[in-house]
Symmetry: C2
Subunit: 210 residues, 2 copies
């Protein structure tokens, strides 16, 4: 964790801030100026007390009876999350899932740009046209430094994941979005978020058994 | 929640069971017969006490000094999760992300088969060959009933997500893996797991700010 200047917000609160931001977006589009904490909480699927507590984390600016200013609240949350400007990201591991994520447009819309993709075999034939450069692992170090990249999406096979993660960390990556189905061991100042699509299905599967 | 016959395990425990299952797989492949709770806990990134507590949820079968039988523990967890046999899944919403997930091979390996994909415009031109049938929403009801499908992957745009979810629930879907960036409102006996890739990046982004 690298934030020394301001107090850390718990991870779950940060997730909820992201949700609030997404719930505010359609209001902003419709030029709605204020929203009550009750209304915003309802759309976000949380209790109003939870919402008020979360937003109090970075200073109160709701007005009792009037609610929150939609544009200001959006801006404050974006600033807090560090997504006010487009952030550079690299992707490592050009298998099926890696290729799929490269062509997914959802990241850019939310403030993240995948600048380049890396693979042990960048020249291997792939069935799709990708706009980003596909580079070998030997180019990783220079690319990360030149482009001030701090975040990486990791989509290599399980057996390569820890070693690649070590390399990423050594070259200055401090945030890893890990799609490999293993638990990565990283230094304390590096943050890993895990996404395992099969595990999400498996979890559903448990709860829907008769 | 449809499990009336056995006690519910908390959702977080179910996630950890999935992790244990994945940590056991390489041991099974290497024909290792037993594993201690300490060793398994370490690979899984949890405390040994946590692991023992989790596994005690569905009966103890570790032997002090010897540990757990790798094959038996795997089988017990699979049975518990309901993934011992291949489970049918449908995907709804053939945008960029939907197409990407259709071609992702990771689900089948873990016991889930995407039988078909549905979209409001199934005939729209797409740049990729997909092996599953692409069907219109009018075919959804019959398909779900005929194939006894209980789980759906939802990758429609945010503005369509709630309505499509309502349709899915009406036709008998009880588990939804939701990739749309909205909070779905569903009846109590329907389970929703949310995956929002941009939110995961945003969350990382917060924690790596200097």
């Amino acid at each position: 964790m690298k934030k020394s200047s301001k107090p850390q917000i718990p991870r779950k609160t940060v997730y909820r801030l992201s949700t609030y931001l997404r719930c505010l977006a359609p209001l902003k589009e419709k030029k709605i100026q204020t929203v009550s904490s009750d209304a915003l909480a309802k759309v976000a699927g949380v209790k109003p007390t939870q919402l008020r507590k979360d937003l109090a984390c970075f200073g109160t600016f709701g007005t009792r009876g009037l609610g929150y200013d939609v544009a200001e609240l959006s801006r404050r949350i974006s600033d807090e999350l560090g997504t006010s400007s487009l952030q550079p990201v690299i992707l490592v591991g050009l298998g099926n899932l890696g290729m799929a994520l490269l062509s997914y447009r959802g990241f850019e819309k939310e403030g993240f740009e995948i600048l380049a993709a890396f693979d042990a075999e960048p020249a291997r034939r792939r069935d799709k046209q990708i706009k980003q450069p596909l580079l070998g692992m030997d180019k990783l170090r220079e690319f990360v430094r030149t482009n001030l990249v701090k975040m990486a999406i990791l989509t290599v096979p399980a057996e390569a994941a820890q070693e690649v993660a070590n390399t990423l960390v050594r070259f200055g990556i401090v945030g890893i979005l890990n799609f490999s189905p293993i638990v990565l061991h990283v230094p304390e100042d590096v943050m890993v978020n895990n996404v395992n699509l099969a595990i999400e299905l498996e979890n559903l599967s448990y709860f829907i058994q008769e």
